[in-house]
Symmetry: D2
Subunit: 370 residues, 4 copies
């Protein structure tokens, strides 16, 4: 395994977790920057499967990343490396002699296998991927993490790529629903991503001048939302738009998610329809539900996400070149810097209840359900 | 009531049925054209409710449509007049002395009330609205219809506004899902509008190079779709996109919709999820469903829809000025002409199975589930 | 050279003239359709340069077009084959023994060289390319043409791909300029493509509710445009949008373009700025010019252009498979059919002065400068 | 004139300088927030002309801003109040007894006239408008400024609304030109806004992976750009994209702009075409120029610009409510705060030459012409 003092000649890149617009831009910037320094680059397929389960990849679990291979990918959604999404970051599903498959911490083995091939790793991913990156780093691999989360809930960076694209598309969808809601005097309940944090719901909801916004940070009371809808009816605005983050939950109820607990994903879903049912019963209005879900993940990154992703990719290579590792690149506006990997994984970044954006919503009469 | 020979001095405009991008462009073109001929214009609120249930509108069920009122609305989704969507076109829900509400054919009364106010009517709407327009015409009102249907299923016109916008947005959504499906080796089942006809599913599906497209015109066999997915898996394309029109139904099964039958809307829905369940069981893959539904209705019309809507609006006024009525304006490419109202309402326009677009799909290896 | 009766086993594809959004979609549909019939495909680089000047292409002037090569290109602007734009279609610039370069008709040689390699050719291009295709066909090569023109001025087809994308972007640009014009009480003169025909100017101009539209089909009188601007000023609309096709010219003046004459391109340009100068002098207002030019050529095709391009590509292969050649595929709504190549090249398709779209503009008070 | 201790009951809003996407969103948020506090709102027409030259506005130079008036304007480009653009901020063109018009500092009079009508002013605008706001504040008017600049060159705030929209559209245009440049082996020189600072050129240029970016902060040497183009030619990339900020200038030459000097606008323009001429001569390639200019100003603000504009509008009202004035709201990420007005007007915010974004460009091999 490479020791931290050795000069770098070859690096690997991996993408983990749910895909986000901008992953390919990070890859391109990292590869072009690295090639320009005389380094070679390889990509690991499907998260770390290309290294851990090479038998799945007859054509090889590592993809040589040349200038040709990363041409024209800046604006492509998805990731040319493939990705995986597992519930428990450090434990990889592993076949046992008896034929069963159990989760096993294979990060030591992973660090060794990667280290046999390259001098350093750029690991692009969300909280789970940063936990793995941190473990790999502790096992002696030179690692730089690149934060990725649609939800913008990673601590340690003010912004991550993919989030702006998700907000842009969610806002466009809300605009569309606005006109049809108004034409038919309807209430539209729109569920958006945001398991632990309401950044997308808040940003798109305010940008599209929604009437109510429900986020995990503020347990809601449907009576309060119904009151807002009734108030609008009274002044002749007979339609309303309600934006709900998928992790929102009612006051007195319990947050249905336990971060870090396996299986947490399965327990989610359907809060939009539940809110719609509640409002249908209370308001007697025609209430419809729209779930944006997967639509917020894919697609071409908006220019500012492309730019941020390119900056992250180039910064990751610079960080390695400057002999730093065990860190994650991060936006500390207006500059991209880096923070220790453990800072990034310590906790989720929730929407602060006293931030000026929430205050803007309140000033404009938007209900947050409290 | 105005006789057909009298010069026109005042016209009414109404919008009925589900909203479609371009309604406001029709209104603007009709109003500006009419004003330029020295006519006055009024809009009827919420379909015909502005005339039939004036008590609902304290500020008046008719809106004066001046140059100022229609300024800057060409690109707005929805309709500034409001609309209604009823299951039974000719029967308006009517309160009875005993307090109950029953559907009653009030078209004779409606024709009279409108005729008291104006010399002619421009009725914008889908098949139901054209049936009403036809009835009003038979009751002696000078009427010109303007076809509107997201689904493009109105006979008598090659194209209607709103359809191109729906196809554009559906294609964009498919593009987005493509990248996330590929990154995660998933099957995405995407349900789009299209109760009786598969125009949106076919057009967006082929434009976005989907792998299977299920439309009401071709009853499907899931085994055939699963085979297509397996074939792709074999050549290393481990993801697939399946587009499903909401009116698609399995071979041997029955079309769940009976055109013209009251309550037909309630019987729809969920075919996307049913297809997904079937494919999940057959293929063992990670299959997700996305329902585009209302998202396809709202929003700014794409330029060609704006243009078509403006042409329809101006043509409707010209048709009246040339003393024709009882007709619907229609696109007979490259010109907008008109057809008798009964032609338009005689039957749905289904996708012809031998059209070159279906053939294009087949040539490119897309499965239609047959 | 293949005789027309022989079965087809291998085809070539070329793209000529200015690029248009949708070229790659045609290529993809043709290649996938052909491969599905068991044919091989090659692409000729840079128009016909890959065959005529093979020395320019050390890596070969023919590109094998496999399923992999055409994957993911449907939505890409430009052409993966490259293209060339010459003033005189049949005469290729040819180096002479004395070192000079003169235009020579090399279509006989070209037909032979192509025929040595493949059994048939799909030639995608505009009027010049269709003339070459016609010549190649007369020299015995099996050719099917696919019409391409941003300007929509090719006779024989109601619509070509690329045009809708150009109209969409031009309309978006007009929308943008609308708001800045209004904020500053300015006149914006916007020059768009359209050398011989005003389709783009007319369509985008009406869709964006411009105030005046100048097209080659209607020689203009600036006094009439100035009058329109003054009229708007009087009613408090102190800004105006004037759309000018690049081939528009003043009444009494002469059309600056002679179709088919070499050097015709050089004589164009600057009409937007000339109109602006004229209006500045006459109206005394703040008049600005914007030239959209190249911006209308590139970019992702809008969904309906993708669909039309895919239909054209598949239809070209079907046409060959059905043993037809010497024809051009064409849209005869709602179906794609084909017409003899000489029909397509006989004359430009101008905007008919009595079409309903022009009439719509007039009804809405738009000045056409006459 | 209102003293700073008095409770606020009525405020005025003005928009000055070139228009920017988001102005209407600021207005809406300020008005809705103010109405929700029980304040009245009026808008001043055309910068301050509504107050200074009331005779120009027969219907009144002040527009009552009610909830109805600001409905549905969040996404509209331009400004419903109108604006003006003058070269010398503090000196308003003023008719003299002898018939001439000379610039006169009328800020004292302006402060008084505004103060007669309202208790405070929200002044939205660029550096010139902030200078006026500062002067009004010194004359005793309660003023809060809201920064607006497409160019992002206002000191005191990390970001202003309108900039993100301009970058988004510039990037889209570069993407379009990319495909046409590649198809024709051309060099495209694209001139974008940016008189004193290269933020737009740098951000859009890197996001769109341009090959060279010329900004006012780095005087350029065309030889260096030509070398980059030749280098690309050598590796078979026979096209290039060069982005030029309108204020860029050659090494050894002189910046053509003197900030604050009257007439500075007239001296600008044409640098794109000059660069193109230079490159045409040096490289012998087909070089085309596209000037984006006004296209970058108008249009619907992208969601993040809408959100920032709404936050600024609400923050301006909160700032007044908290009894602060003589300040400008500003983004100090992640929060909107405020800074003294004189900080904002002290100097332009140039792109720091050592920022990580420039470094990203360099790492990726983009030439900055130095």
């Amino acid at each position: 395994m490479a020791t931290s003092g050795n000069p770098i000649r070859r690096i690997a890149i991996s993408t983990g977790g749910g895909d986000a617009p901008g992953l390919n831009a990070v890859i391109r910037a990292a590869v072009v920057s690295a090639l320009n320094r005389g380094w070679e680059c390889v990509g690991i397929r499907d998260g770390y499967d290309g290294v851990l389960t090479p038998e799945r990849f007859p054509e090889g679990g590592l993809i040589p990343l040349t200038a040709d291979r990363v041409r024209g990918i800046t604006h492509l959604g998805g990731t040319i490396l493939g990705t995986t999404n597992k519930n428990s970051p450090l434990a990889f599903p592993t076949p046992q002699p008896d034929g069963s498959v159990v989760p096993v911490d294979r990060t030591a083995e992973l660090a060794e296998r990667i280290g046999e091939n390259v001098d350093a790793l750029i690991a692009i991913g969300g909280d789970g991927s940063m936990e793995i990156a941190h473990a790999l780093s502790r096992h002696g691999l030179r690692v730089v993490g690149v934060p990725k989360t649609i939800d913008n809930d990673l601590d340690g960076t003010v912004l991550t790529f993919g989030f702006l694209t998700a907000v842009a598309f969610a806002t466009e969808c809300l605009d569309r629903l606005h006109s049809t809601a108004e034409a038919h005097d309807r209430v539209m309940v729109v569920e958006v991503m945001g398991r632990y944090a309401g950044w997308i719901a808040m940003s798109a909801g305010i940008a599209a001048t929604a009437d109510a916004i429900l986020i995990p940070e503020i347990p809601f009371d449907l009576t309060s939302v119904a009151r807002k809808i009734a108030e609008r009816d009274r002044i002749g605005r007979r339609f309303s738009i309600v934006v709900v983050a998928e992790g929102a939950y009612p006051k007195g109820g319990e947050h249905s998610l336990v971060p870090g607990e396996p299986g947490r994903i399965e327990r989610l879903g359907g809060i939009g329809e539940k809110v719609a049912e509640g409002l249908r019963a209370t308001t007697g209005k025609d209430v419809r539900t729209v779930v944006l879900g997967h639509l917020l993940r894919g697609g071409t990154p908006v220019p500012m996400d492309r730019l941020l992703a390119l900056r992250f990719g180039a910064a990751a290579v610079r960080t390695l070149a400057e002999n730093h590792c065990g860190v994650m690149v991060a936006l500390d506006p207006p500059e991209v810097k880096y923070v220790p990997l453990d800072v990034a994984t310590r906790r989720m970044k929730a929407v602060p209840l006293d931030c000026d954006t929430i205050q803007t919503g309140r000033d404009m009469g938007i209900s947050f359900g409290d």
